[in-house]
């Protein structure tokens, strides 16, 4: 037995305390004159002996408790020397069943060769050997197998549509090393094609695994590799019913690739492109896919990109890309301000917004408040007013009709609110809040909107606003607003006053921003957040989006306003890549899918149908053969064997086993602590 922190053993000297106390202590008793001592005599010897026994026992118990505590802190280790006959052969097999192993050079596939090699290895092992098998693609371990069981498990392995996961294999190996049978002869066999992706994972291993013996075999073909793959795709735009996609195709092999790239959506819409790639060449090809009417309505379009047959691995010839199409819509924005200067900054921001891809067509018209006419309202989809003036009161009925018909009425309030106009708009349920007393006090905006899930608000814009230092924007003042009972407070000032109120009226929306144009809107629009704030006010954006993930990514589907059908639900049923139905969690504005179960499509089972494409990790099927010397170097670094392994650091001892004793000591200590008062009290009787 040894102690890791032997210095704590000095704490055992504390036993001197109870010993000295025992020696010095005099029993406390009271004197009592008595007459019939002869009748006590028989019991006297018994009593005194019991008392002595009790004192001694208690002293021993207390000393033992102190010594045990000291030993516990010293972290005792018990060395168990093992006989050679006690050690067993444990074989840990890391078998690569990732997608790249499906490659075939015309004869057997890589995976078939891997299975043959593994079977040969298992058969050559001793009959009493134990096998632990790890499938590198899934990271699943099958442990404690006998020879026959191991053979059966190896034969049952299948290629999985995914990349290798070396970390699970190595962490499982480390656990096995630290386990009770760590003294066993642990041999490791790694069978893989050691693609650059896999090799990179081995290179990145921080701590070597201590094993007795390491074997590895790169499963490669002697022939030149013939493989091309679609490495990625990006949606460029949607114009005139045609979806433009840039597709990255890589030739991972040494043979020239003359293939046909086809983009397909639905049963009868496809766009083929002939491609030509030399050895190890990567190129981007543009595909235009006619989506017809689907491009004019809001939907998620599944687009399958595929390469024609002609290489040794078909699993990477298909790419799944879901395109979120917002539908085509022109938006007319009417900016109504007292003067051109007042709306200049807002116009600039809106102009900027119109040039981004957020909106299909954002047409801006600027009028002064006094010239605001009914015809303007007829033209506009969004009306932004820099102030509440008497002219708005005159047009109250028309504005109500405009909003009820689906228009968006955004109204800033200034220091000089026309109270009559405000009252008229309020009475017609147009205003989300009624401005009251103006408070001329400098104040800051809350960093984040308080209600970004309200219908009529672009939640992406709301989230992006939180990325700006909006709380640094200092406003000159604000109004004490009385919110409409049906209105929602979207944003607050830091002093608790409302900044943005929203109210639905008919099929339209009315927004009131509790700032003045000059002092506050100016501040807002001068800030970095100006474009984001305009986007926030103007409503949902219309942007093409891609729902495309790799196999090892966390699948999080953003939900736009179109997907508000899922709002209020906690879970949504989805169909995963293998056709199974699973529940996806709705979290805020996202849909979380736990496991895609392969590559292919994920889709929601309830309307609206949302697709997401799941693909192989990039470079997974890069079939570049490993360099033998480099591979040997990596393996020797990852697996420390024999003399190279530092047994202390690795925590594995070959001929003897260190068993920590602290648990035993702790249990004994607890028992003693329980026994001490029991002994002390019991023997007093």
């Amino acid at each position: 037995m040894s102690f890791t922190e032997w210095i704590f053993l000095l704490g055992g000297l504390a036993v001197a305390g109870p010993v000295i106390a025992h020696l010095l202590a005099k029993p406390r008793f009271r004197r009592l004159p008595f007459t019939m001592l002869r009748f006590l005599r028989t019991g006297q010897v018994e009593s005194r002996s019991r008392r002595k026994l009790r004192d001694l026992l208690i002293l021993l118990l207390r000393c033992a408790i102190i010594v045990l505590i000291a030993m516990l802190f010293a972290r005792p280790l018990l060395h168990i020397r093992l006989k050679p006959s006690e050690s067993r052969s444990v074989h840990c097999l890391g078998l690569d069943n990732s997608m790249s192993m499906a490659y075939s050079d015309g004869s057997d596939s890589y995976f078939d060769k891997l299975v043959d090699s593994a079977v040969d290895y298992i058969r050559s092992a001793r009959d009493d050997a134990m096998f632990n098998i790890c499938a590198l693609a899934s990271g699943d371990w099958m442990q404690g197998l006998g020879k026959e069981q191991a053979l059966a498990e190896v034969r049952a392995l299948k290629v999985e549509p995914g990349g290798t996961n070396v970390s699970d294999f190595l962490s499982g190996l480390s656990r096995a090393g630290r386990a009770e049978h760590s003294s066993d002869n642990v041999s490791v066999l790694v069978l893989s094609d050691f693609t650059p992706n896999t090799l990179r994972q081995f290179v990145n291993v921080a701590e070597p695994a201590a094993v007795h013996k390491i074997d590895y075999e790169p499963i490669v073909s002697s022939k030149p590799v013939n493989n091309a793959a679609i490495a990625g795709a990006q949606v460029i735009g949607l114009a005139d019913g045609k979806l433009t996609i840039n597709v990255a195709v890589v030739n991972y092999g040494l043979l020239r690739q003359n293939r046909r790239l086809t983009a397909k959506t639905g049963a009868n819409r496809s766009a083929p492109v002939d491609i030509n790639l030399s050895a190890n060449q990567r190129n981007v090809f543009q595909v235009q896919l006619d989506v017809g009417a689907a491009g004019r309505q809001s939907s998620v379009l599944p687009v399958e990109l595929s390469l024609s047959d002609g290489d040794g691995l078909s699993g990477d010839d298909t790419f799944y890309l879901a395109v979120s199409i917002p539908g085509h819509e022109d938006i007319n924005v009417l900016l109504a301000g007292e003067g051109g200067n007042r709306m200049f900054l807002l116009k600039t921001a809106t102009d900027t917004l119109s040039r981004t891809s957020s909106y299909d067509a954002l047409r801006i018209k600027q009028v002064s408040m006094s010239e605001l006419a009914v015809s303007d309202l007829d033209w506009a989809d969004v009306v932004v007013c820099s102030a509440i003036t008497d002219r708005l009161g005159d047009l109250a009925l028309d504005i109500e009709s405009f909003v009820r018909a689906g228009g968006r009425f955004v109204c800033f309030v200034t220091e000089a609110v026309a109270p009559e106009a405000a009252r008229q708009l309020w009475q017609r349920d147009i205003l989300a809040a009624l401005p009251g007393k103006y408070i001329s006090k400098r104040m800051y905006i809350q960093p984040k909107p308080c209600d970004s899930r309200a219908p009529g608000v672009d939640h992406i814009a709301a989230r992006s606003l939180s990325n700006y230092r909006i709380d640094k924007v200092l406003l000159k003042g604000c109004f004490e607003c009385e919110p409409h009972p049906e209105a929602r407070l979207l944003w607050q000032l830091q002093n608790g006053f409302g900044l943005v109120y929203l109210k639905s009226l008919g099929s339209g929306t009315s927004i009131l921003v509790n700032t003045s144009v000059d002092d506050s809107l100016g501040s807002l629009t001068k800030s970095n957040a100006s474009v984001a704030f305009c986007r926030y006010l103007l409503g949902e954006s219309h942007q093409l989006d891609e729902y495309c993930f790799t196999r090892d990514e966390r699948i999080v589907l953003p939900m736009s306003g179109r997907d508000q059908a899922f709002a209020g639900q906690e879970q949504v049923w989805v169909e995963t890549c293998n056709g199974a139905h699973r529940r996806a969690v709705v979290a805020e504005s996202s849909l979380l899918v736990p496991d895609p179960a392969g590559i292919g499509w994920i889709k929601t089972l309830s309307k609206p149908t949302i697709y997401a494409g799941i693909n192989l990790p990039q470079g997974e099927t890069d079939m570049t053969k490993p360099v033998a010397a480099e591979l040997a170097g990596v393996m020797s670094r990852v697996f420390a064997t024999g003399a190279e392994s530092d047994v202390t650091e690795a925590g594995v001892v070959r001929d003897k086993k260190n068993r920590p004793l602290w648990k035993i000591f702790a249990w004994i200590l607890i028992l003693l602590l329980l026994a001490e008062p029991a002994v002390a009290n019991r023997l007093k009787r």
Binding site: P27, R28, F29, R30, R31, L32, P33, F34, T35, M36, L37, F39, L40, R41, T42, G43, Q44, E46, S47, R48, R50, R51, K684, R685
Partner: protein, 298 residues
């Protein structure tokens, strides 16, 4: 009744201080508490009339009745049977034990001796008081005068326990020195060799004495109700012993019970009246025992 019993309570009597008062309280409290008494006294006094029969002594004819009724009636008298009572009070150190600290065995014995003396002398019995420990320390010879009570009570008042018990020796001494037979009342804790004690008592019985043993024991001596670690110190021998009484209690009670049973059994076999008195109890048990004995002597 309850009010009268208060005067028999040793704790109450201990507060009186004056032994004369103690004796008076105890005895009168005792009689006041009784129902119409069966104890008519033992002096010469008229008892009844009966018709004259031939052979009756003429001196007992009640001539006054004859003068009134011309019939001869004989006056019957209760014959006075004056006796001598020897009260032996153990005054050894062990008698000073007071378990709860109020009334020691010595106090209790003294109250009892005083009450008995009062009772006896009021009946014109000669009463002697012998105080002893290892030997007889004070011997007040028997007298029947009422003034004799003062002498006895004074002796009791100033008696202090001292010395070890030598009960057997003392009993032999008394047996040898008492000329007239009577009632020997032994008040003691009997903490001596049992065989020796009963040899001494047998000696007295042999001399035709009537013997009553009042065995005074403290409540703690009987029960050992102490708790915690205690160093017991013997009052007579000064021997010491440290023990947890709770661990000894059971055995102790058993041995004490055997001791008392043995004494009672031996006393019964020897024709000795035995009365175990707990010093926490009133005196009436002792007085009843005495009067019962006295009646049997009539």
């Amino acid at each position: 009744m309850r009010q009268n019993r208060k005067y028999l309570d040793p704790a109450f009597l201990s507060k009186l201080g004056n032994m004369d008062l103690v004796a008076r309280c105890a005895v009168e409290g005792f009689f006041a508490g009784l129902h119409p008494s069966p104890f008519h006294g033992f002096s010469v006094e008229y008892s009844d009339h009966r018709e004259y029969h031939a052979g009756d002594e003429l001196k007992f004819v009640d001539w006054k009745v004859f003068g009134r009724s011309d019939k001869l009636y004989i006056k019957q008298f209760q014959q006075e049977t004056n006796t001598t009572a020897y009260i032996l009070l153990d005054s050894s150190k062990s008698m000073s034990f007071a378990g709860d600290g109020t009334v020691s065995k010595m106090d209790y014995g003294s109250y009892l001796a005083a009450a008995l003396s009062y009772l006896m002398l009021s009946q014109s019995d000669s009463t002697a008081l012998i105080l002893f420990a290892e030997r007889v320390m004070k011997h007040i010879p028997p007298r029947s005068r009422r003034t004799h009570l003062n002498i006895i009570l004074t002796a009791l008042q100033y008696n202090r326990p001292a010395g070890q018990t030598n009960l057997a020796g003392v009993l032999h001494t008394i047996a040898e020195t008492t000329k007239r037979r009577g009632i020997v009342i032994l008040i003691s804790d009997l903490l001596d060799d049992e065989a020796d004690i009963f040899q001494g008592l047998a000696h007295l019985k042999f001399l035709k004495h009537d013997v009553i043993v009042f065995h005074t024991m403290d409540h703690q001596e009987l029960n050992l109700d102490y708790e915690g670690l205690i160093q017991f110190e013997d009052l007579e021998t000064k021997a010491r012993m440290r023990a947890f009484p709770q661990s000894l209690r059971e055995g102790y009670r058993k041995r004490v019970s055997e001791f008392l049973d043995n004494i009672e059994k031996t006393a019964g076999n020897s024709g000795i009246d035995y009365c175990l008195l707990d010093t926490s109890e009133p005196l009436d048990r002792a007085l009843i025992a005495y009067l019962a004995k006295r009646k049997r002597m009539m």
